[in-house]
């Protein structure tokens, strides 16, 4: 299982403070707008990378930012990205469950089964091939590896940024990245063999 940092740890404890909806008038929405401007694309792509289908990525991103909007005053300054990402992890998990696409097992048999679901060459004609295949490969990766892979290889965060974001030790991030790459290579080889039968040595 992926270590999902608790967004609760990223908010200030103010037991007697009124709800955000009642404070909104006092605090300008500049901070929230900056949050959307600076992080929306990252969160949207991250949700996609975490297994949220393209057709529901907009709604999932909206859900993440709605939660952030409600808790904005309590989010510790400087931890906004961590809060958003940990929220996105939870939202993505819900979305995956909702579409019965939980794919967190890592054993070889499961990977084989998942790769066997890869689109055949005829089906590929109706897909945006590369991106659809990338989704397929990511879907076949264990979630904890997939998360690190997306953040490092695709979003190009540093390992220390990822460690901070996921509240993991840097060594754990490096270890997961190494295993994620191994999984990526293994899965892509199988996918390629299926979609490009003559393409492998």
């Amino acid at each position: 299982m992926v270590a999902i940092s608790s967004s609760a740890a990223l908010v200030r404890r103010e037991p007697n403070s009124p709800p955000a909806s009642e404070r909104r008038g006092r605090a300008p929405d500049v901070r929230f707008s900056a949050l959307v401007d600076g992080q929306f694309d990252f969160i949207w792509r991250s949700l996609r990378g975490l297994g949220v289908p393209a057709h529901s990525a907009d709604d999932a991103a909206q859900e993440v930012f709605w939660i952030a909007c409600q808790k904005l005053d309590a989010i510790v300054p400087g931890s906004e990205k961590s809060f958003l990402f940990s929220t996105a992890l939870g939202v993505a998990a819900n979305r995956r469950r909702a579409v019965a696409r939980s794919r967190e097992t890592a054993d070889t048999a499961a990977l084989d089964a998942l790769v066997d679901d890869a689109p055949n060459p005829e089906e590929l004609s109706s897909l945006r091939q590369a991106r659809a295949l990338l989704d397929h490969v990511l879907d076949a990766m264990p979630l904890e590896l997939r998360t690190v892979f997306v953040l490092f290889e695709l979003e190009e965060l540093t390992t220390s940024e990822i460690a901070s974001l996921l509240e993991l030790a840097p060594g754990t991030v490096s270890s997961r990245l190494r295993r994620a790459r191994e999984a990526f290579h293994a899965i892509t080889r199988r996918v390629r063999a299926r979609v490009q039968p003559g393409g492998l040595p």
């Binding site: 959307v36 907009d58 709604d59 909206q62 490092f152 393409g199």
Partner: protein, 238 residues
């Protein structure tokens, strides 16, 4: 310790590079960004509404009261987002458009403000007829509204508070009480939405979805419709 070189730059096969390079082919739409930005504006609208409530409650013009009531209802809706998340559905964007007065249900006769806000023992989880049920007869419209707006708001504030406190049974009781006290009230739609959210928070997703669908049938253009459409479809993905 330095980071390894990224696969796209080194170590990936041509096929893998093609896959990795497709990552940025997908980007969120401008519309999606605008929806997210609108969340902040919706929050501000709630506050503005609250600050104008006192004025509206004594305003002689019914239309002003209606408009204010709409925004109050939106505030009720905005406060329910947490329960929507608990249902594993997107709460959706809060309302950003104003509903026209012609869309409202007919209003009830003017009542003398009763002790609506006063605490009272409740029969919890009492089944209540949905205010959104199509075909439910509505009371004859009243010429003015301001006589009930304050008590209606107080009643729904109580229900909203119960929902926020995580007590859906109490919420259902308070909504049922509101619906008895103010049949066809100005905030009937908001009461119906509160009831739906309470059912959802209670874990009764099937009933919540069924009531959401009835609401949408009765009020397809309601400002609450967007979020309820998600709720209405939730039971198909248990």
């Amino acid at each position: 310790m330095s980071d390894p070189t990224r696969l796209l730059s080194e170590g990936a096969s041509e096929f893998e590079q093609e896959l990795l390079g497709s990552w940025h082919d997908e980007q969120p739409s401008d519309r999606a960004r605008r929806r997210a930005l609108a969340l902040a504006g919706a929050g501000a609208a709630v506050t503005v509404t609250a600050s104008t409530t006192a004025t509206a409650a004594v305003a002689p013009k019914a239309t002003l009261a209606v408009v204010t009531a709409k925004w109050l209802g939106m505030g009720v809706l905005a406060g329910l987002a947490t329960s929507a998340v608990a249902l594993e559905v997107a709460p959706g964007a809060p309302v950003t458009t104003r509903e026209t007065t012609s869309e409202r249900a007919p209003t009830p006769p003017v009542r003398a403000p009763g002790p609506v806000a006063a605490p009272m023992p409740l029969k919890l989880a009492e089944p209540a007829p949905s205010a959104a049920s199509p075909g439910t007869p509505r009371p004859v419209p009243a010429p003015t509204l301001h006589g009930t707006l304050g008590p209606e708001t107080a009643a729904l504030d109580q229900a909203r508070g119960a929902l926020k406190a995580g007590d859906p049974a109490k919420t259902l009781g308070l909504v049922a009480r509101y619906q008895r006290e103010f049949p066809g009230g100005v905030l009937a739609q908001e009461a119906a939405v509160l009831r739906i959210d309470a059912l959802a928070q209670q874990g009764n997703r099937r009933a919540a979805a069924a009531e959401a669908r009835r609401f949408l049938n009765a009020h397809p253009h309601s400002p609450h419709a967007e979020r309820l459409q998600i709720l209405a479809g939730a039971s198909t993905n248990p």
